[in-house]
């Protein structure tokens, strides 16, 4: 279906046939130095980029997404790496693939284009953003993580384990940022480019089900318990409502295959996700 849509798109807009298409992989919460191997896995990245006319036109972002989304080490770093990629490889048509909080950092750039003169240059090259399991409305688990580390002394609650990125993903915090700084959520103006969500709806961690092992069985064990903190439709870290909370729903995992995509599987080569993303380039 995606391939069909893509073909129709190219037929309707022949200018894209002349475009130099590239793809960027934007990781989620955490400070990455080798996101290709540590976050996405080489198998996922290499499978997706085969959909490019020039399979070298890809970049894997490595930034410090422990910071608030607007921080120079977060959105600033992302903008720097995206613009270098665009300029160095003469990219005229960029597809951005984000995972989890990476969707928020990308949405910060799209929603606040005048904060940095690089942002409009990047936005003008973006075809669309494919947001895998985006934490657009935050997650109750970020509230739980923050509150679980609150010291009762005066300034102590700042010293807890939760990073700024985790604090930012508390539900009430994201509600504030969505109402006041970010676009694309219900009742707010749409973003300047499409923001298409892939939603993971469940976690399987049965030791007798081979599908539970894709992306790492032990990761799914922890996600299955934390899913209890969430709605029945969730990927172990995010409610489906959060993943579908900004932009448009591209598809739910169960529309892709019979297997749900847990929060860790939605960044890995699991159940044909890589093929759908490849065919979308």
């Amino acid at each position: 279906m995606s391939r069909l849509i893509g073909s129709c798109f190219l037929f309707l807009f022949p200018a894209l046939l002349l475009a130099n298409t590239g793809v960027a992989f934007v990781h989620g919460t955490g400070k990455q130095t080798d996101a290709r191997n540590d976050y996405w896995t080489g198998a996922m990245v290499d499978s997706v980029r085969q959909g490019l006319s020039n399979s070298s036109n890809y970049t894997v972002i490595n930034c410090d997404f422990e910071q608030f989304m607007w921080d120079s080490d977060a959105a600033g770093c992302l903008a720097g790496q995206l613009l270098s990629f665009i300029n160095n490889r003469n990219i005229t048509d960029l597809v951005v693939i984000t995972h989890s909080n990476g969707g928020n950092v990308m949405r910060w750039i799209l929603s606040n284009p005048t904060t940095d003169s690089r942002f409009p240059q990047i936005i003008s090259k973006i075809r669309w953003v494919n947001a895998l399991a985006a934490s657009s409305l935050g997650t109750p688990l970020a509230d739980a993580a923050t509150e679980g580390n609150i010291f009762e002394q005066a300034v102590g609650w700042l010293l807890g384990y939760a990073s700024d990125a985790v604090k930012q993903q508390q539900v009430s915090w994201m509600a504030y940022y969505n109402s006041n700084y970010l676009y694309g959520t219900s009742g707010r103006p749409s973003l300047p480019v499409g923001f298409y969500n892939v939603v993971g709806s469940d976690v399987d961690s049965s030791p007798f089900d081979s599908d539970s092992y894709c992306g790492g069985y032990t990761l799914n064990v922890g996600l299955e318990v934390t899913q209890e903190w969430l709605d029945n439709c969730s990927d172990g870290f995010l409610n489906c409502t959060s993943q579908a909370g900004a932009g448009s729903v591209w598809f739910y995992d169960t529309q892709l295959s019979n297997e749900p995509l847990s929060h860790n599987q939605s960044r890995r080569k699991c159940f044909g996700l890589d093929v759908v993303l490849r065919n979308d380039l």
């Binding site: 807009f13 989620g28 919460t29 608030f68 607007w70 600033g76 903008a79 284009p113 005048t114 904060t115 940095d116 003169s117 942002f119 936005i123 003008s124 075809r127 669309w128 688990l141 509230d143 739980a144 993580a145 509150e147 679980g148 580390n149 609150i150 010291f151 009762e152 005066a154 102590g156 609650w157 700042l158 010293l159 384990y161 939760a162 700024d164 985790v166 539900v171 009430s172 915090w173 504030y176 109402s179 006041n180 009742g187 707010r188 103006p189 749409s190 300047p192 480019v193 499409g194 298409y196 790492g216 032990t218 990761l219 799914n220 064990v221 922890g222 996600l223 318990v225 903190w229 860790n264």
Partner: protein, 424 residues
Amino acid sequence: MKSQPFQNLVRWSTSLLLTAGLLTAGEDHNLLPPNQGDVAATAVTRQTWKAAPALPPTAREKVHFSWPLAADESIDTQQPSHQTRSKSYRMLVESADFEKGIALPLETSRPLIKISPQFSADQLPGNYAVQPQDLMLVNKSGQVFRGAAGLDQLAAAEDLQRAHKNHFSPATTIFKLANAVGHQSVYLFAENLDQGEPRRYVIQVFEKHAQIALGLQSNSDTYFAGEDILVNTTWISELGKVETQSMSGALIAPDGRRFDLNFDRGLQSARVRLPQTLGAAAGLWRVEVQAVGRDGDTLIRRDAATAIAVGEAGARFSGDVVVARDGDLLVADLGIETAGPGRYEARAVLFGTDAEGGMVPLAVAHVADLLDQGKQRLDLQFELPAATDAGAPYELRDLRLIHQNAGKLLHRQGVGLRFDPDQP
């Protein structure tokens, strides 16, 4: 079906037109007065915190940006503050309490329990985890459940770290009580806990299947220093009226300062006055409430928290607007009054009148620039969609002013201006 915006291709050329002064002279207008729910400063005040964060070179140029909106987009310019609904509570305990037994009031069975040892940044948690296999639970009938016998699902500390290492602190464990353990009064014990030195733990209880939640909402999501915050709480119950036994809470600044909430006699609303002086720490302020209620013979505990933004009125719209139109470009040049230098941004959504007389969205525009102290201007440049039958009269909705390098919203107005550039 996915769609691609092509308007980016024309954005830069129109900016050049404007720069070259090809627009016709505009008409003077005044902003409408703010309505209830809008955020607006009556006067500007110099910031009390010492220095704005240094701006990178890429944030020093004047930048315009605009994109079209579909006429059928539903845009709500009245964004209420977030209402939190909580079915959870937390308690701070000492490691020795696990030997004596910790009473957990539960409205329903099958709660999820999370235990996190407390440690500061320079400490390692070591082997502080309260592992699920070391638990003992005693229910209200005196029945004892040891280890996994009382648990339905569990995650040891290492399971959580593998799945959530960026989200949960080391040595955190989570488990779900089995249905057989029941509810109302359950005592939690832990064996094999290192009691070599006293330590503190946060226990969080989440009653997913509860029918009673605590609601918490502030009367706005954005305030200026020195203003009063009104906080409202409510029991959201599917069972009937919950009798409030206690309600307390605090407002906590990003720099850690705490301000107690003073609840009224009905224990539903509280007011607190914001300080005149703000700290430089980034992030939102936290409003947190701890409530105890009773439903018959069942004790209900709930904690709730929400977030608000607090800023200083470092700038405001002075009220005068010059509007001009040239072809597909509509410019609203806004007067700004600033208390100090900084990078300021104006943004708004342009609405037009369609053939049926209804107001429909046309475009978003942003502009930001470094401005000195005093009277300044920011010009919003809207690129009108080529394929639209909507026109004058127009409205500037969702009009906002932002101090970018302070990260503060200074003005938010549902409808800022109604105008017809062709009708002086």
